[in-house]
């Protein structure tokens, strides 16, 4: 389940602009069951496997999100350029990032459906940065996101960046997804009730 904490600390994985959902999880891999515990791990294995090698893990490149044969990543905060998550509506995209161990994304702008899927499914928190941090943060940098203060601290480079408040989706994020939110607000009765 998604975390309700307002501080997320972790290692950054940096990507460029227009990272589309085919790069996040190529279509050939959309067939595994998200319900089956073993098949589910394959989404972690193939998360971001469609990103061209030299653009994976910037600025150096050629760094996969998950190492060969691993299903979980050492990186848990993704820093992306503008229009993150463009392309198809596949919810497997934010889901595979969560399965790989990613907690949050920081990008200046998102494609609408990816942003919504991230929030409504409670997979990862999509933070919006005021500037394109993919030009500043390096893969492996240690970051700390403080949601309340709306800042990201780069502990490696000793820098601080602003993020926007979550705004109208904050309640859904804090509930842990649209179902939890709808139950909290009485829109949907409890399961099996």
């Amino acid at each position: 389940m998604p975390q309700k904490t307002t501080t997320i600390k972790g290692k950054a994985f940096v990507l460029g602009k227009n990272i589309d959902t085919d790069q996040i999880i190529p279509a050939a891999h959309l067939v595994y069951s998200l319900e089956d515990p073993e098949e589910r791990k394959l989404y972690g294995k193939y998360a971001l496997s469609g990103v061209p090698d030299d653009e994976s893990g910037l600025p150096q490149g050629n760094i996969p999100l998950t190492k060969e044969d691993a299903t979980e990543s050492e990186f848990n905060i993704i820093v992306g350029g503008p229009n993150f998550g463009c392309g198809s509506s596949r919810e497997h995209a934010p889901a595979c990032l969560e399965i790989a161990g990613v907690k949050a994304i920081i990008a200046p702008t998102y494609a609408r459906i990816f942003y919504r899927n991230s929030v409504d499914g409670g997979f990862v928190i999509p933070y919006e940065s005021l500037e394109d941090l993919s030009q500043k943060v390096h893969t492996h940098d240690e970051l700390e996101i403080d949601q309340e203060k709306q800042v990201v601290k780069n502990l490696t480079q000793n820098e601080e960046y602003k993020i926007r408040p979550l705004g109208s989706v904050a309640d859904i994020v804090s509930a842990g997804g649209i179902f939890a939110y709808a139950r909290e607000t009485g829109m949907v009765e409890s399961v099996n009730s």
């Binding site: 509506s89 459906i113 399961v191």
Partner: protein, 437 residues
Amino acid sequence: MGMTLTEKILAKKSGNSKVSPGESVWVDVDVLMTHDVCGPPAIQIFQREFGENARVWDKEKLVIIPDHYIFTKDKYANRNVDILRAFAADQDLPHYYDVGTDRYKGVCHVALPEEGFTRPGEVLFGTDSHTCTAGAFGQFATGIGNTDAAFIMGTGKLWVKVPETMRFVFEGSKLPPYLMAKDIILKIIGDIGVDGATYRTMEFAGSGIKAFTMEDRMTLTNMAIEAGGKNGVVETDKITREYVKARTDHPFEEFKSDPDAEYHSEHFYNLNDIVPMVAKPHSPDNKATAEELEGTELTRAYIGSCTGGKLSDFRAAAEIIKGKTLKIDTYIVPATTEIAKGLETETIMGETLIDIFKNAGCKIGRASCAACLGGPSDTFGRLNEDEICISTTNRNYPGRMGSKAASVYLASPYTVAASAVTGTITDPRVFIQETVI
């Protein structure tokens, strides 16, 4: 202040007399569509959240159209269809179009209009980003994820942030003979960028739009998502009405943008000023004219998908291909089984489209999404290596058609056909002048 077409639909369906951009509203859903990629996980979330024995909110309003991974030996992909089949049987769903039966349709975005589910004034959600295609019918139609789809399955409702509207006004009375709707939408996406309409509606209007067939309009609205748009929409007219009424008896309500509606921005295009366009690798907004890219070497051509696999798309391609031998492997994939039948009955100077393609050496696939999005490795037409493909599909991000090593150019059926004839990117005006019919 008046409202736009999209705002009017969302107001009506949320029980408000007025809605404004930025406001979040809960709307009643008229149609929920899902397919074989996102249907199974959506069903699993529905059952997890509402209970194993939960019933969908309205079985008349749920449409399930398997189309993405159909003709493959991939066991997981086949399992997805099994899950849909079992769910449709268990829920007694009347609108399930099973593979291997006479009901099988093919690509959902083209099948929905064929089956009368794209009705003006309604709200359609689908677990596929190209659900925005249905906006061609004056409907509010947009793509959603599995969780949102599961939520609708249980409640019949979904929250929507009311989008601002960008208005694209076409001046002119008809499309020039060498131009297709695909050229126009590639030009627009090239102008505003792949995030140029993010969170917004793209409304296509003006005198020019009246000259567009329903299939032309569907090509425009289909690619609204390629500019980040929430939905694309075209006001209804006689053409819309005739198409819809020929497909369904279901009543519908038509809305139009008010003359004093407020738009985010207005963009004007004269149809006569636009020339055949191409999106270069690896982004739909990486625009060039076909003329600028003349001579670019290709290894493959692909004509198909919800964007470029309609009957009018094949007719256009056949006009150029007729009587010629092609220089590169050319794949033909009709979007639906109805279109596949059309290839056998539609003729140009007495020769059927299918014969034109076969005689030119094209490889013909069965109705489905096929290689548009890669898919399992045995998918028809999939790019498995460093192919350089020109395609009528809608997306050319790295790896989209199956291989990160491949390069995909997007273009109209005219341009793809002309390029297939020469083996290099070719402005179709070279052939249109010879063969205008």
